[in-house]
């Protein structure tokens, strides 16, 4: 043993750190080092192929003039040019901004308020929580018809309120091209705000009780305690919530199909429905792929900073 130690040159580690010892690693050590990677490998391979591979494939398609089925006749960025000059795409993108912003903002607002209210030692909290949460369990394929009725001026809220005697009551967003996108917000908020509530409720429950006590002693009123002290603690939750909501907003498809069908006209179209329509109903897979790439670019713009900060904060923490 001593001979080996003395034979090893002192400066050895400059070139090959403890190369001599490395030789001595046995099978068990090797397995221990590689098992985690092996376990992750199938998932990584699947992601590489099924996510990144397909993304690449879609990108390639967006450079072709594929129509009904993929073809590989390259046309450069012509599909993007067509896309950007397409009125409907502009409407769809604008709608996504409106829908996304409102959907996220309102879900957060309602979710936070409900979480705070539910945190006040409410009787039957469990039951109420389940009621708020259940919309997340249903897809719009299931609830779409009900929603269409509820928002339909002739059948739904407007009619019910008029039947109650308020004759001039109008709630016709569903059929109003300028307002239709807001009905998407309503239904979307209905579906996701309960989930946001659950996230925040969980967050509230995790906040150190003594911070709230300290704020009480400092003389803050309950609303101020929440606003100034508790909510700022929930920034990580807020971040997760925004991310989940953003991804729901970007992926919103069933919602549009079930509720407005993109109408009136295409006033309530979103990129997801646009992409689907062009790829599959209109046999313009090339352009559909281009719109998909634009969507992905949008997702990247949101998710990359998130991942970056996530990775950074982990480095720090």
């Amino acid at each position: 043993m001593n001979t080996r130690a003395s034979v090893q040159p002192r400066a050895g580690h400059l070139f090959a750190p403890n190369s001599a010892s490395r030789v001595r690693r046995n099978g068990a050590y090797w397995l221990q080092a590689w098992l985690p990677k092996l376990v992750l490998a199938p998932s990584v391979a699947a992601a590489l192929f099924f996510v990144y591979g397909f993304m690449l494939w879609t990108f390639v398609l967006s450079l072709t003039n594929s129509r009904m089925l993929p073809s590989y006749e390259f046309v450069g960025f012509a599909q993007y040019a067509r896309l950007l000059s397409n009125d409907r795409w502009l409407v769809a993108s604008t709608n996504l901004v409106i829908f996304g912003a409102l959907f996220i903002a309102i879900c957060l607002a309602i979710g936070i308020v409900l979480a705070i209210l539910l945190d006040q030692r409410i009787r039957h909290e469990g039951a109420i929580r389940t009621i708020y949460l259940y919309p997340m369990a249903l897809s719009f394929i299931v609830t779409g018809v009900a929603w269409k009725w509820i928002l339909n001026p002739g059948l739904g809220i407007q009619q019910v309120v008029r039947d109650w005697g308020w004759e001039s009551f109008t709630f016709d967003w569903l059929v109003n091209p300028d307002m239709a996108v807001y009905t998407l917000v309503i239904a979307g908020v209905w579906q996701a705000s309960g989930f946001v509530m659950a996230l925040f409720l969980a967050g509230l429950r995790a906040v150190d009780d003594s911070i709230i006590k300290a704020a009480q002693l400092d003389g803050a009123s309950l609303p101020r305690i929440y606003w100034r002290v508790v909510l700022p603690c929930l920034r990580p939750v807020l971040f997760s919530a925004v991310m989940i909501l953003a991804h729901i907003a970007i992926k919103s498809f069933d919602l549009v199909v079930a509720l407005t069908g993109g109408g009136p006209g295409y006033a309530s179209d979103l990129p997801a429905t646009f992409m689907y329509d062009f790829s599959f109903s209109r046999s313009q897979i090339g352009m559909g792929a281009a719109s998909a790439m634009m969507m992905l670019a949008g997702v990247l713009a949101i998710i990359v900073p998130y991942l970056y900060s996530e990775l950074r904060s982990r480095d720090r923490g």
Partner: protein
Amino acid sequence: MSALEIRNVRKDFGRTRVLREVSLSIDSGEFLILVGPSGCGKSTLMNAIAGLEPVTDGSILIGNEEVTWRTPAERDIAMVFQSYALYPSMTVRQNIAFGLEMRKVPKAEREATVERVAKLLQITPLLDRKPSQLSGGQRQRVAMGRAIARQPTVYLFDEPLSNLDAKLRVEMRTEIKKLHQTLGTTIVYVTHDQIEAMTLADRIAVMREGRLLQLGTPDEVYNDPVDMFVASFMGSPSMNFIPAQLVRDEHGISLAIGAASDPYRLPFPAARTTPDLDAWVGRRVVLGLRPEHISERTPWGEEDANTHPLTTEVTVAEPTGADILLRVRLGEDEVNARVSPKQNVTPGDRLPLQVDMARAVLFDPERETRIA
């Protein structure tokens, strides 16, 4: 004037009674320390004083005004929590100013106060950091700063130093003491640490299972414990409890320890014998002797009437640097003793020691109460 008065306070959590008829009164400017084993209700009492928990019964007065049913904000109290409870999203400056802001203190005044407090606690360079960027000791000072900024009638400290490491703890202890001396405020302070309790307190309140057992100066509590619990709770290593028989002999009243055939006798200080003690003569008692009262022989020991020689076998010797802790035989038991590090001791040695009976105490072995 009593700054804080607690009258017959009871507190139940559902079925469990956590505080049982606690009454105490704290003078203005006094430093009161609450000690007691974990779960005895110290934090509950603090919370009740602060108004963070409604009491089940009894009343609380602050500055001679009844506040039992006031909200925490309406009581003039500041509290430092064991976990510091700094607002994580605010800077140190904002943390300190928050209480003032809530009380609508004008901005300029707020800033001046923050500066003053920061200077006092030497955290001026940290004012713009977030709590997560502070070390434990710094956080602790910020928590204190937040309390100090407000200048309330009463401060409550709930184990404020328990998260610090030994060295920092000593430093912070000194700072708190200074602070109390400078500000002259009323403080109620919970701690598990003996040294902290002894060095900081004007008075110490010892609690057990929701009851106040003893309230007195550190000296009283340490040297004059009301029962075996208090006696064992204060001091580390804790007081030796030695079974003995109370006998009357030529010196007056003595304690016979060990084998009945050949007991070791320790005379009880004549000055401290009371008439009540006579009733115990011939019965078994428990002799309470602190480790520092069994120590190496000193020249003056011979002169002192209360000091008695004892030569006995050492079973364990633990040098701690500043002292050597010993376990030595006494009668049929082993007891803790404490000698100077100058001594050269190894287990198995027979060592000449002396027992100082001046501060020895006697307990009823059944009821565990103090006899003398």
